[in-house]
Amino acid sequence: MEANIAVPTEERGKWDGGGPKPFNASYGKMMMWFFILSDALTFSGFLAAYGLTRFKFINSWPIADEVFTHVPFVHGDFPMIYVAIMTFILIFSSVTMVLAVDAGHQMKKSKVTWYMFATIIGGIIFVGSQAWEWNTFINGTYGAVKTTEGKVLQFVKDGKQISLADFVTAPRTDGRIQHTRKNGLWFEGEGTIPNYSVAQVLQSYNANPDIQVRTEFIDLDKKQKTILSREAGALRLANVKTVVEGANLQANEYGNTSFSDFFFFITGFHGFHVVSGIIINIIIFFNVILGTYEKRGNYEMVEKVGLYWHFVDLVWVFVFTFFYLV
């Protein structure tokens, strides 16, 4: 075969039909890049589907900075701050990764070791933050009610959202208690039941004249959710079927259910990538310590896992924009 291919030897190192370095890159690196390309297409499929759904419900989609407002150990309303911190952590761990690659080019084993270590720590902190964010999202903040049509109604006082716990004072009258395997019917447990019953919420709404109902509908001129008058709110509340606290795949107090579905799916898939990146980084980290690459004479393996790690960061940049900012 070789003899039949009229490629001068100097031209090798481009796409040359099976040389050890097509495109002047080793096969391992080239395939890592093509894997990253295909993975990028997967992620863009998710984000584009998110975009479609959001466009479909453009006048009622939850407003992200009203959803993600929490920072650990601090009380109060801080939209975006925590996600921004997470973004910094991930970008910084990308920097230590690229420094590890750089040190690898110079064959400095101890430097590579320490930079890899810092990268792994950064990744673990990021995943931990992500878990905290999920926990906050799942537990919810305010609580809301859902109508028979599937619309979520929230409660506001003086234009600010107020949690059910802050105004529902009427006693619970439906006698409902959590079924567990121990006391439930036929030894079956059940999903967590809300802290308040619908009747309780309605009664408290009627008893508090300064509470208003806010619908999902966005006034596109002001880009704010609509707040109903007391009478219109009472009319809407007549159709309420359930109380929603927090978020899961069936319902969420923030509004459209698809919002929480996409949140769990996209950030979850990204988090899965971060976790696998950490595991791969740890393996390579130990190989560096054992001197595998020192013996091999190059640290290209560090470069390859570095590509994967940067890709995880790259995806987060887009998730950050399209989930939290736009």
Binding site: F34, N59, I91, V101, L314, F320, V326
Partner: protein, 112 residues
């Protein structure tokens, strides 16, 4: 392939600085949401355009410097970047048009 084995540390930190500044600007704009930018703009708001452009700038910085695309063989780079950019913009364009159409069709039927 980085043939040159001299250290690029300084450049890495500069790029980190740029990425950080872009993120800070994004977060700042996202929190204050200036009305002039937030409530008007072509297609979507000006603010969203700013976010998208800054995001692409960040992606460029990460891919070119951190992932070292700038040092790869020209056609290797193109095989990755052109394929990705073409397919993603194709998909996004179609799905967003479709989403807008579904909204136009369904929203008159929704009673708020």
């Amino acid at each position: 392939m980085a043939h040159a084995h001299e250290s690029n540390t300084k450049r890495i930190w500069i790029v980190f600085g740029i990425l950080s500044i872009i993120t800070l600007v994004e977060v700042y704009l996202g929190i204050i949401k200036p009305e002039a930018l937030h409530l008007s703009g072509p297609g979507t708001s000006w603010l969203n355009w700013i976010f998208i452009i800054l995001t692409l700038a960040k992606a460029y910085g990460i891919a070119w410097v951190f992932m070292h695309l700038e040092g790869e063989n020209k056609w290797f780079r193109r095989s990755i970047v052109w394929s990705g950019v073409f397919l993603v913009s194709y998909l996004v364009t179609l799905l967003l048009i479709e989403g807008g159409y579904v909204f136009d069709t369904l929203s008159p039927l929704v009673r708020w």
